[in-house]
Amino acid sequence: MDTSIPSSELEALDRVVVRFAGDSGDGIQLTGTQFASATALAGNDLATFPDYPAEIRAPAGTTFGVSAYQIQFGAGSVLTAGDEPDVLVALNPAALKVNLPAMREGALIIIDKGSFTPRNLQKAGFESNPLDDDTLTKYQVLALDISKLTLDAVDPFGLSKKEALRCKNMWTLGLMLWMFTRPRKPVIDWLTNKFAKNPVVRDANIAALNAGHAFGETAELGFHLPRYRIAPARVEPGEYRTVTGSQAIAWGIAAAGLKAGLKVFFGSYPITPASPILHELARMRMFNIETFQAEDEIAAICSAIGASYAGAIGVTSSSGPGIALKTEALGLAISVELPLVVINSQRGGPSTGLPTKTEQSDLYQAIFGRNGDAPMVVLAAATPGDCFDTAIEATRIALEHMVPVMLLTDGYIANAAEPWRIPDIDDIPPIANHKPAAGEITPPFNPFRRDPETLARPWVTPGMPELMHRIGGLEKSAETGNISYDPANHQKMTELRHEKVERVARFIPPQKVSHGDETGDLVVVGWGSTYGAIDQAVRLARSEGLKVSHIHLRHLFPLPANLGELLAGFDRVLVPELNMGQLATLLRDRYLLPVRQLNKVAGQPFKVREVLEAIHEAVAQDAPKAAE
């Protein structure tokens, strides 16, 4: 174990990966979030990866109770939370145990040695104290008694020992802010606000924060602490904030409602990791948003269908198991051709699976998972910020094409934060819909008379005089809207429902190459939250001189009209996915291309390295004959 930390006054770094880890009771997520905020304010680009246990409060000291928050930040563009941390903060033995395997050799590990009691060591499954044996020889270790330092710092406030130790995270945060030259003020503001009603706790936390910072500054040890400076990133001018995918989805839906001039009705049932969207929208009632916590996911989607039928924008949201329950009702929405937005924040499956972990394994379900021929539009968001735009896009398609739209995100982007250039609502174009103006349609009225371009049917809602009609899930006559068992009509309506969805492709922008040239040896095709990892891997590969490009799909069904052509410009196609190969199926079915898969189903995002290795392997192979 190397404790002689090299001294370095403001060592300049290009990018750093820091991982905070501790017991779920240690307030790690708060620490991480605040560090991220301060980092954003320091002008760095960043990406985060919160990773916490499924238990609300797992028993203290256990490995399964470890909560972690990883952040990568830097002077250049940062798109993932980083493969391997440069710095680990471990607030107890279990946190060290769980996170050590992820560390690169030579990384800096900051440890609260005060928590390394025999009982905690045993709970973490250490046979001997890693501070005393050779467990940590490959790393730089800074073992401080953070517990004691915190207790000393907050001593004046007369807290109980338990309460006092709760400030440990702020002490640690103070030290980290010093180490990476981040401002303390936003954290102090936040504490002041959060504990407004409890001034003692507020002051104790601020004192701990300041003490941690002062510790760095005064370096009470026999050695110098390292200190780093990471230059601000150069980004587009504008106002910025950090945003998580859940926030951005909620705001996107709200913005779409405003731009459509319609009420948003959000029917949902809580489920991890989808609930934060409900929580955010529930607070936004003043924006003509009604949230409804239904009795289950079926009632949630049904209430949203009812809302759409009545003329609002019906939205429902869940994750895998809940989306599964919505399957039957989705068929109804498709059959009666009402606008509807269905958000799936994917998580590890099958079944209850890994509720707090990320995965992309619901693409099959989104595209194919219904009885009958029941095509629907499917979109996916790529980053937390992209959630805002994709939510608006989903709503736009739903309203302009009178179709249900599935919007896929996942546990990773739902929780991860990134700096986001805050849009101006006035810059967002308005969204049209198919409600007839008064008198525009006169009886006899066929609810399935279609717009010739989009094939959308008119959106006649109860309350409109003289246009009373009946709809339902039985097959309807294309001519009258009445029930029809006629074989030819069923054929026609089935084809119309397909065609209507296919036509959406005419109204979406052509697919672009996200990075790289329009032709080359290899194209890496991704979708959803793997954006960052693929982008960085492709950039690295290109910097090695490889002819690799990156295409990232927002529109998964229908696929962009020009995608086939684009793919034809490359010798090989690599599809990395956090599933067993679901987009791969789509591409093979549609383009008969021999795509190569990179599949990871571990509840974790891709590491850049994993994608890069797959690129190397793919390029090393003989190029397949054009049409093999």
């Binding site: 003020k185 910025y240 009705f265 009795e295 009632a299 049904c302 209430s303 009545a310 009946r470």
Partner: protein, 349 residues
């Protein structure tokens, strides 16, 4: 078409041919509903019928109002979305004993406890009509049906008891062919703000013919049912010579004969539709010892879900003032990057 000042029952009939079996009790209910709507002066453009799946659930197709024939069991949930988005609509839910109490029991429970202002009519024929006669959750034990060829063995659920247990605030019962009674009950249901639950004994002539004949059949009806009315004594019988009382130590209802054992009309319990305990006792009554209670068994006022929601929204808007989306998404830490793309150095600490 100009809206006529007063519509007749026929004006509420759609142009679709009615497709129930000849003799089905649903016809009588359809007639009763069309009459009721005409009598209350309903506007077809603001009236919506929402149903699930079943013979009964074909109902909306035959009404010249808005109509949504949805999926099995889910009508209360869909109707909830409709009503919450547009509280001005008159929303009627049509369901069956299978649709409402088998697959749809949970949505019924939650609509009732939330007190969404819906009028829910449950056509109880104690059988699955549309799928050809399997027993339903309201079928009597011993019912032989294609799925229970040796007789069913489960205790049926009582729709009104269930509704009461679900905190239903308006619970009523009527009979398909009782054309004097049915519209009256529907009018009360319509007038009630909040979820109104109406169980209608409906005869399925094909798969369960005559299952309610012991009390609903015209010739025995007066003797075997009791039409309850708030504030009136609970008297029944063709000769109106029988009444109900509570035995306080046993905490149960008893039937007494007026004029016998010195019992007079004034000794008879007066119906109090606001009392859930009395409601429970009335709901449970069944022959041969007791008459079957029909009419408005339970009714208490209370804020509806939409009313409470709107009151709350007004408060919120009062506090929030004119909401500004741009500021909403700028709450918390916001920083500005200048034209040159450079970021101000963090304040030296």
């Amino acid at each position: 078409m100009n809206k006529p000042v007063k519509l007749s029952p026929k004006d509420f009939a759609s142009d679709q041919e009615v497709r129930w079996c000849p003799g089905c009790g649903d016809y009588a209910i359809l007639k009763g509903v069309q009459r009721t709507l005409a009598e209350i002066g309903a506007d077809p453009a603001t009236t919506v019928f929402v149903s699930g799946i079943g013979c009964s659930s074909r109902f909306p197709y035959y009404m010249a109002t808005y109509g949504f024939h949805t999926i099995h069991g889910r009508a209360p949930a869909i109707a909830t979305g409709i009503k919450l988005v547009n509280p001005k609509l008159d929303v009627w839910v049509i369901t069956g004993d299978g649709d409402g109490l088998s697959i749809g029991g949970n949505h019924l429970l939650h609509a009732l406890r939330r007190n969404v202002d819906l009028n829910i009519m449950l056509f109880n024929n104690e059988i699955y009509g549309l799928t050809k006669g399997q027993y339903s959750p309201t079928s009597e034990p011993g019912t032989r049906s294609p799925s229970t060829p040796y007789g069913s063995i489960d205790t049926p659920v009582s729709p009104c008891a269930f509704a009461l247990g679900a905190k239903g605030r308006f619970i009523a019962r009527t009979i398909d062919t009782h054309q004097k009674h049915l519209p009256d009950v529907l009018k009360r249901a319509h007038a009630h703000a909040g979820t109104s639950f109406i169980e209608i004994f409906q005869n399925c002539i094909v798969y369960n013919d005559g299952v309610f004949d012991d009390f609903a059949e015209r010739s025995v009806r007066d003797e075997r049912t009791i039409e309850v009315r708030h504030g009136e004594p609970l008297i029944f019988g063709t000769a109106r010579d029988k009444g109900l009382r509570v035995d306080p130590t046993a905490c149960r209802l008893t039937v007494v004969e007026i004029g016998k054992d010195g019992i007079s009309e004034s000794d008879i319990l007066v119906h109090d539709e606001t009392n859930p305990h009395l409601a429970q006792m009335l709901i449970e009554m069944r022959g041969p010892d007791f008459p079957v209670a029909i009419g408005v068994i339970h009714c208490i006022e209370g804020e509806t879900y939409a009313e409470a929601y709107e009151a709350q929204t007004r408060e919120i808007l009062k506090k929030s003032g004119e909401p500004d989306f741009n500021s909403w998404i700028r709450r918390g830490h916001v920083w500005t990057v200048g034209k040159d793309g450079a970021h101000p150095e963090p304040a030296a600490e």
